[in-house]
């Protein structure tokens, strides 16, 4: 494809060229393009939107549950506040927690998965048994009980809590992959040259797992959004400010669900969350195509 080639001929630093090349390949198929545009739109809206759009959270009792109009394109909430404004301001926390949770769980999975596979013995046994246990416990119930007892405050704690249940699946994949890569010739060559465990794992083996790891990363984000919004809707996370989950929490606790005019107020966060999830899934489908060599060549 010409776009890919054009990107490669640009005189940019090497990592930038690779990322640009990857983006160009993902965008080649409609699914990947939808995913890229969708995720990009949410990132821009949630992180740059609040810098551009002024916050309008003043209570206006005269305009409760208004249907969409020019002044309020998505209507108003139970206190007469603009819904679109809340949607713009309400994405940042959700996206940040999802990204951090995915980052932590992926880091743990890759580190301990490769550690277990390359050291073997007792370390391996313990890590695998732990992963099995984490895969078995019902995550949402554990999260609800833990959140009910310890009230996780701040989004770093919430992200760590979500990540603590998400690493196990990828860890098993990484471990299995490393066990099989260990026997390959180029890895044996690197080991016999005594290039060190760090070099062998991060330079020789990990590049082969880029597909698993990046696709897992995206699925970890969707999982984190699901669990996080679930906890917020149940009122178990004392997060302040506006976010899509808090909007739904108030919709339920204020009985907005049962007002006919509150339709847009409830529909907006539902659509925001669902479209973000769909964009992530589409992006991961696009990535799958990238890593499928048969599609990549064509």
């Amino acid at each position: 494809m010409s776009l890919v080639r054009q990107v490669r001929t640009l005189a940019l630093p090497q990592p930038l060229v690779e990322i640009a090349g990857l983006v160009a390949v993902i965008a080649r198929r409609p699914v990947g393009l939808i995913g890229l545009v969708g995720v990009g739109a949410f990132v821009v809206t949630s992180y740059i939107g609040p810098l551009v759009v002024p916050l309008t959270n003043s209570v206006d009792i005269a305009n409760v549950y208004r249907t969409p109009s020019l002044a309020h394109p998505l209507g108003t909430d139970f206190q007469g506040r603009d819904v679109l404004n809340q949607i713009v301001y309400g994405g940042r926390d959700i996206l940040s927690v999802a990204f951090l949770a995915a980052f932590f769980s992926t880091a743990v999975a890759v580190t301990f998965g490769s550690l277990a596979a390359s050291s073997g013995g007792k370390v391996d046994t313990i890590v695998v048994v732990l992963a099995d246990i984490v895969l078995t416990v019902p995550h949402l119930i554990v999260l609800i009980v833990v959140a009910a007892i310890f009230r996780p405050e701040g989004f770093l704690v919430l992200a760590l809590l979500l990540a603590s249940l998400q690493w196990a699946g990828l860890l098993r994949q990484v471990r299995a992959q490393i066990l099989s890569l260990k026997e390959r010739e180029y890895v044996e060559a690197a080991r016999s040259l005594d290039l060190g465990l760090f070099h062998v794992i991060f330079r020789e083996m990990l590049p082969n797992m880029a597909s698993y790891v990046s696709i897992h990363f995206i699925f970890a984000m969707t999982g984190a959004v699901y669990a996080q919004v679930g906890l917020i809707v149940l009122g178990l996370v004392p997060l302040s400010g506006a976010n899509w989950g808090i909007m739904l929490y108030f919709a339920q606790s204020q009985g907005a669900l049962y007002f006919r005019d509150s339709f847009w107020y409830i529909l907006s966060p539902i659509l925001a969350i669902s479209l973000f999830q769909l964009s992530l899934v589409a992006l991961s489908a696009g990535l799958e195509d990238v890593f499928n060599p048969r599609l990549r060549a064509g």
Binding site: K122, I133, I141, I144, V233, L234, L257
Partner: protein, 356 residues
């Protein structure tokens, strides 16, 4: 399952004396199950007893704060509530706690103090099992059928439509689908009498195998069942479609075609059976997550199952009930996993003897 293979290598490498025991697939699965239950019990013990800010310390603190109760009395009361002997050293507490759990004694509820946690859970469990179980099995049956047809008409409009809709529905969080149903069907269009459908049954109806009662049970469970159906069906369609596509390329299918067997027979007896095999194991595993997956859905529809009971316990800070539900859900997943492991070695003759 891939996990079986690496467990064999793992356990064979780990122990030499017990290796013979581990090699038996059923025993190995059982061992894994017991270990997981033990871990879950330990985690709940740690949550309520050991970690800072745990409910036992908080409760003792509350009871002694206004000076009406001595520290010893408060401890005695709390230890009765949790079925934990607080006077004993920690390891003993842990062992006796495990023993109580093993006997099915999960302590008493904080709020209705004479009621054992076990009976509270058993009262709501059937409703969750019924609603989620029905939705799950219906989605499995429909998903298998649609998946086979999609694979046979690969690339057709039907295939693309079913696959796209399936993956879209399964990426939307299930509780959002539930809220959307209340919003659209119940409030905006008023097709569904949403307030009458709250609870597991209508008030005042006589339980029994009468048409009225059974109809009422289905009436109240219909929305939760629909949501569970919708959230699972995408997964079954896509898995079955891919499994069928793989099976269609197998030599025995080509051979069956060459022998001139009817397409319908090839589809059911050759392709369908083999493609559905791994999915049966997945179904067994999903059954285990039934209890855990229902929390938010039951909350949205005010359906009186385990999930709603858990949230009530959370709201009332009724820790013994919370802890009991956490344990029960874990055990149900473990039992389902165990069943899946055993089922798989029964259904697939390649697993079980030759490789182990």
């Amino acid at each position: 399952m891939a996990s079986n293979a690496f467990h064999v290598s793992l356990l064979a490498g780990a122990g030499t004396q017990m290796a013979a025991l581990h090699r038996h697939p059923a025993l190995r699965a059982l061992l894994k199950a017991l270990l997981t239950v033990l871990a879950a019990t330990t985690i709940t013990f740690a949550l309520v007893r050991l970690l800072p800010g745990n409910p036992i310390d908080l409760r003792i603190d509350e009871l002694t704060r206004d000076g009406t109760m001595t520290y010893e009395d408060a401890r005695a009361q709390v230890s009765g509530l949790y079925a934990i002997e607080l006077d004993a050293p920690l390891p003993d507490q842990y062992v006796s706690y495990l023993w109580n759990v093993a006997r099915g004694d999960l302590g008493n509820s904080f709020l209705s103090q004479a009621t054992p946690v076990t009976s509270i859970i058993l009262a709501v469990l059937p409703w969750t099992l019924f609603a989620v179980g029905t939705g799950l099995f219906l989605s499995f049956a429909a998903g298998i059928g649609l998946g086979i047809i999609a694979a046979y008409r690969r690339g057709s409009f039907f295939d693309q439509a079913v696959s796209t809709v399936g993956s879209i529905i399964s990426s939307v969080p299930n509780y959002l689908i539930a809220i959307l149903m209340v919003l659209v069907l119940g409030i905006q269009l008023r097709i569904v009498p949403i307030t009458q459908m709250r609870g597991a049954t209508s008030p005042g109806i006589q339980p029994g195998f009468t048409p009225d009662f059974v109809g009422d049970v289905f009436f109240h469970a219909s929305l939760p069942i629909t949501v569970f159906f919708l959230t699972h069906i995408g997964h079954w369609i896509l898995s079955m479609r891919n499994a069928t596509l793989a099976a269609l390329e197998e030599d025995y299918v080509v051979a069956a075609r060459a022998r001139g067997l009817r397409d319908s027979r090839i589809m059911t007896a050759y392709v369908g059976r083999n493609a559905a095999l791994p999915l049966v194991t997945q179904l067994a595993i999903s059954v285990g997550f039934i209890v855990g997956g229902a929390v938010l859905i039951e909350q949205v529809f005010a359906y009186q199952g385990v999930g709603q009971r858990l949230l009530r316990a959370v709201a009332q800070r009724d820790y013994p009930v919370m802890q009991g539900i956490l344990l029960l859900t874990t055990i149900s997943v473990v039992v389902a996993n165990l069943a899946a492991d055993l089922l798989y070695s029964k259904l697939d003759p390649r697993v079980g003897h030759a490789t182990l």
